[in-house]
């Protein structure tokens, strides 16, 4: 479970996030929906302990993201905006490196890497260096790396960026499987269809604030709009930055 209370962050004079409060339950997919520049990435970066909030607090399960940052990191897997693989290492080595950093024993690392490679159907390229991977292969590797220590909470920053239709479908299936296995999945996106089809709960972010939250159905009902896209535009007051 991920919870945040009044998170705020400014860079220079720009207030990127102003008081975000949210909650993502276990066994559910929670979407963070908003146009570019709404503060989605900054919020996720604070949740995954990389950024320190100026105000507010957040917890990953019971671990405070600032006071128990190392504990919080043990309980979360983060798929960053860019997959950020090491080009000279193979997918398997990329995964094993993170497993080691998570302090897993050798046998456990190897077993878990095999498991993830099979689960994500990476067998065809797992032994090749990451340099020439397609975007889909990169995302899979990065996802496997984020999941290597079997974290209860999974955060994904715009995971479908740059993926083709088939890869997006695959990713959706994967996220659903994570949810069904009891994980808490929180992902950000600016693409409506993804969110409406996949999320159990949506938090709509605009200008650094949560402007609405609820199930997709509830949001549609509350705004009186038939499609979530219309609801979204109505909520954020502009269609600027929508993908």
């Amino acid at each position: 479970m991920i919870s945040a209370q009044g998170l705020a962050k400014a860079f220079g004079g720009v207030q990127a996030v102003r008081g975000v409060t949210l909650r993502a339950e276990d066994g559910a997919i929670t979407g963070l929906l908003g146009p570019n520049g709404a503060g989605k990435s900054t919020t996720l970066r604070m949740l995954c302990t990389v950024l320190r909030p100026d105000a507010g607090e957040a917890w990953i399960d019971a671990a405070h993201t600032v006071r128990d940052a190392l504990d919080a990191r043990r309980q979360l897997g983060m798929l960053t905006h860019d997959s950020g693989l090491y080009p000279h290492l193979t997918a398997r080595e990329n995964i094993l490196y993170f497993a080691e950093l998570h302090g897993m024993a050798r046998a456990a690392r190897e077993r878990r890497a095999d498991e993830l490679i099979e689960w994500l159907e990476m067998g065809a390229f797992a032994g090749r260096r990451a340099k020439g991977y397609s975007q889909g292969q990169r995302i899979k590797t990065a996802l496997a790396r984020a999941l290597v220590h079997s974290p209860r909470n999974v955060l994904l920053d715009e995971p479908t960026n740059g993926l083709d239709v088939m890869a997006v479908r695959n990713l959706r299936v994967l996220l659903a499987r994570l949810r069904d296995a009891g994980h808490c999945v929180l992902f950000s996106s600016h693409v409506m269809q993804e969110v409406s089809g996949l999320c159990d709960v949506v938090f709509v972010l605009a200008r650094g604030e949560v402007v609405a939250h609820g199930t997709p159905d509830a949001l549609r009902a509350a705004t009186g709009c038939a499609s979530l896209e219309d609801a979204f535009v109505k909520l954020i007051g502009t269609d600027e930055g929508l993908g």
Binding site: V50, H88, L89, Y97, R129
Partner: protein, 392 residues
Amino acid sequence: MGAVGIVWRKEVRENLRDRRTLVSALLFGPLFGPLILAAALQFLVQRTADEADQRLEIAVRHVERAPNLVAWLEARNVIVTPVELDDEATRRAVRERSHPLVLSIPADFAERLAAARPASLQLYSDAAGGRADRNAARTRMLIAQYGASIGRLRLLARGVDPLLTAPLAVQDIDVSTPQSRSVTVLGMLSYLLLLAMILGGLYLAIDATAGERERHSLEPLLTTPVPRARLIYGKILAATTFMIVSLTLTAIACALALRFVALENFGMSAHLDASVVLKIILVTAPLAPAAAGLMTVVASFTRSYREAQTWLGVVMLVPTLPIAFVGLAELQPSLALSAVPSLGQHFLITSLLRGAALEPAHVLVSVLASLALGAVLAWIAGRLYRRESLLG
């Protein structure tokens, strides 16, 4: 294995697969270093040898006025070229180097010589030109020798012992050994070793910091449950490893290359057997963590691989500055100077090349000071990695 070791192993493995890092660490220093050194030495040695052997050329106005002098000069391997020039033309010829040295014999030369009065000669040369100046000095010395021999003959003819005119005799005793003479020439070896060492870890230091940020692999790395300082210590350690490998290879390669330079023929010898090479590596290696730390600290301020490369190209030269300063100021090794990182190493390397015994206190101070600087820089790098602006 602790997190530092895990990061170290991954950086080493990854960079062993990176051609750019590999070339700079394992090829550039060890291959080009000795080549540069050998070529420079060969050039230097060749030039010294050339000048000693080169025949002196003097253009002489009015050779017919001093046939004995000319014959005496020619007997001493001087090429005498008779010229017909007036004063104005002579000056021009010297300035334009068509005749860099012109000796003019006045009309009354033979007459004054016969009358045992000082006979003057005019030597035209251009003091602004290095080689012409040396040749003028050689000419002056030869003519003085000729004059002195005439003087002795005159004294003998008058029944006076010529030794009476030599109340003093200065004997030059050069205590430099062939090894210590060659040290001036081999002084560049410590430059070369330090540069090769730093270059060996340069790309790894960039790759592990600015490179990692540019590839966006830093952010996922920071979400692992490892304190940030440990990540950076692992990276510094990996750069240190590459630097020491590059240093070792370069030192061995230089020692091998120097065997092919005919130093001995010119009264010089490089004291570079296996045990000296090993000692050179051992006294220089403690500087590696400081160099790696410095590179990492600087690279963590840069935004991209390219920017880091530009900055580090300049920073790379920092360790050579104290050596250059000491070279100019002609300072001697001392305990205080040994504490200056890179300078301490330079003194120790020079001592080893000279074949002198190492001062244990100097070694200790140099090693400790360098390691302490390394520790401080690593600590600073660790602090810098806690900044949020690191993610850019």
